[in-house]
């Protein structure tokens, strides 16, 4: 089980880094800043899928994989919608 804990640690650190990128941003232009944040959020969604997969392995309950699948479907749509909006709008 320790291996799972190490993997959890990696993912937690990764989530922390993604959060730092989300809050601290070197750009001035607000559109580019928003795009940077979209990248960070996309990464966080991927990390959440990773968390769910790990949790399914840790607890031995495969139901969590279903949740991971749903998140994989939804997160992608959100990213695409954001990118399209930022491409067109002000």
């Amino acid at each position: 089980m320790t291996v799972n804990m190490i993997a959890f640690g990696f993912l937690t650190l990764a989530l922390l880094f993604a959060f730092l990128r989300l809050t601290r941003n070197p750009n001035r232009d607000h559109r580019i800043m928003a795009l940077d944040r979209v990248i960070a959020i996309d990464l966080m969604a991927t990390l959440s899928i990773g968390f769910m997969t790990l949790f399914a392995v840790e607890t031995g309950k495969a139901v969590f994989l279903d949740a991971a699948m749903v998140l994989a479907l939804i997160a992608f749509l959100g990213t695409v919608a954001f990118a399209r909006y930022l491409e067109k709008g002000k």
Binding site: F10, R31, I39, D42, T53, V57, A62
Partner: protein, 128 residues
């Protein structure tokens, strides 16, 4: 026993690559390279995690589910990256100072955001 160890190794590699992806997103100097880290290392990492889960459960129905998540992520991650990259270029996100050349410079129509048709090989390698 062997499958157990294999799944542990896969999960460890997956976690490590997701960590690398997040570090890349934090450290890379410009938006495009952050996109590189996000699209590839993260997808690669989660691929290993899901393979590890598939090996761990070892049941056909569950493993197929894990593999279908994997397939779906591999199909959608490049699309999201393409959308963000295109929007970033149109928003004039600055390229890193060390970028050697930019073939895309000046190719976008300002109003319609359409790429102008380019039949011959573009050779305007503008230093940035």
């Amino acid at each position: 026993m062997f499958w157990d160890i294999l799944s542990k190794i896969l999960i460890l590699i997956g976690g490590f690559f997701m960590f690398v992806a997040a570090l890349g997103v934090l450290r890379m100097p410009d938006l495009y390279m952050r996109l590189h880290a996000n699209t590839k290392s993260a997808t690669f990492g989660i691929g290993f995690l899901l393979l590890g889960a598939a090996v761990h459960f070892g049941e056909f129905a569950i493993s197929i589910r894990a593999l279908s998540i994997l397939l779906f992520l591999f199909a959608t991650a490049p699309v999201a990256a393409h959308m963000i990259g295109r929007a970033a270029y149109i928003a004039k996100s600055p390229l890193w100072g060390g970028t050697l050349s930019d073939d895309l410079a000046g190719k976008y129509d300002k109003k319609t955001h359409e790429l102008t048709a380019e039949i011959e090989e573009p050779k305007a390698a503008k230093k940035n």
